[in-house]
């Protein structure tokens, strides 16, 4: 438990390090998911025809 806490604390910089990684995961993930959703929607549109 303490191991996890020290890891999460990032020697006091946790409030900067984790948002940085969080933002990156969110933004890059969103780009990927957005691309997939758009593709699926078009695929469906094509299949309907």
């Amino acid at each position: 438990m303490t191991d996890f806490h020290t890891f999460a604390a990032m020697s006091g910089y946790g409030m900067y390090v984790w948002p940085a990684y969080g933002l990156a995961v969110l933004a890059y993930g969103a780009v990927f998911i957005h691309a997939l959703i758009k593709k699926d929607r078009l695929k469906k549109q094509q299949d309907e025809k």
Binding site: M10, A20, L23, A24, F32, K39
Partner: protein, 250 residues
Amino acid sequence: MDCPYEGDIIMITRFANPARFERLAKILTPVFAVLSVLLLAFGLCDALLLSPPDYQQSDAVRIMYVHVPSAWMAMMIYASCGVAALMFIVWKHTLAELFLRAALPVGAVACALCLATGMLWGKPMWGAWWVWDARLTSVLVMMFLYIAIIALADAFDRPEQGGLAAAWLTLIGLVNLPVIKYSVEWWNTLHQPGSLSSMKRMADPALAAEMLRPLLVMGLGLMCYLALVIIIRMRTQILARKIANASGVR
């Protein structure tokens, strides 16, 4: 006729054919998917757990492993867009336009992340979210250029014209970016010569091998990942054009 460039032109048109691109993309998609999962998984572990904290910045240095790859990708995507723009203007390859439209928003996201993570790194290190440093300012200008190009590409009733205008602006930006970077650097040395040297040390520390490794792995992983995204986006656009052609709407 004896044309020394014939081979090159054939090479270019070979891959500029959307059907051939589809075939290539079908092979590349799984390759990039697997590579990016492996590299990013290992890179994240390495960046967060295995690599040592910096002796000066301690664990805050771990922001570097998302910040620097984002900066690389923002620049690399802009450079490749510049090449695509040139190809589109000179040869009018549809695929070049597709690449531009697919890659620019991705590059803008990378650029925005570079700025955001940079701010998150700057606050604990320099005590300020934003410093008017040469490097930061020129990346900010690049961000605005990305936004301008994307806005321009979508601002026309006729999409071909949007693509053409966007290609031109990309090319002009490609010429102008070094000028901007240079002017900003020059401006900065006039006003605050102190911060530049210290900033340089922070941005390019003489990296130890244990820190260089996660950086490179993350960089490569991000490159594969974004290449995957761009390929998916390009295929989506090809699909959209096919549907538009089939329904007779231009």
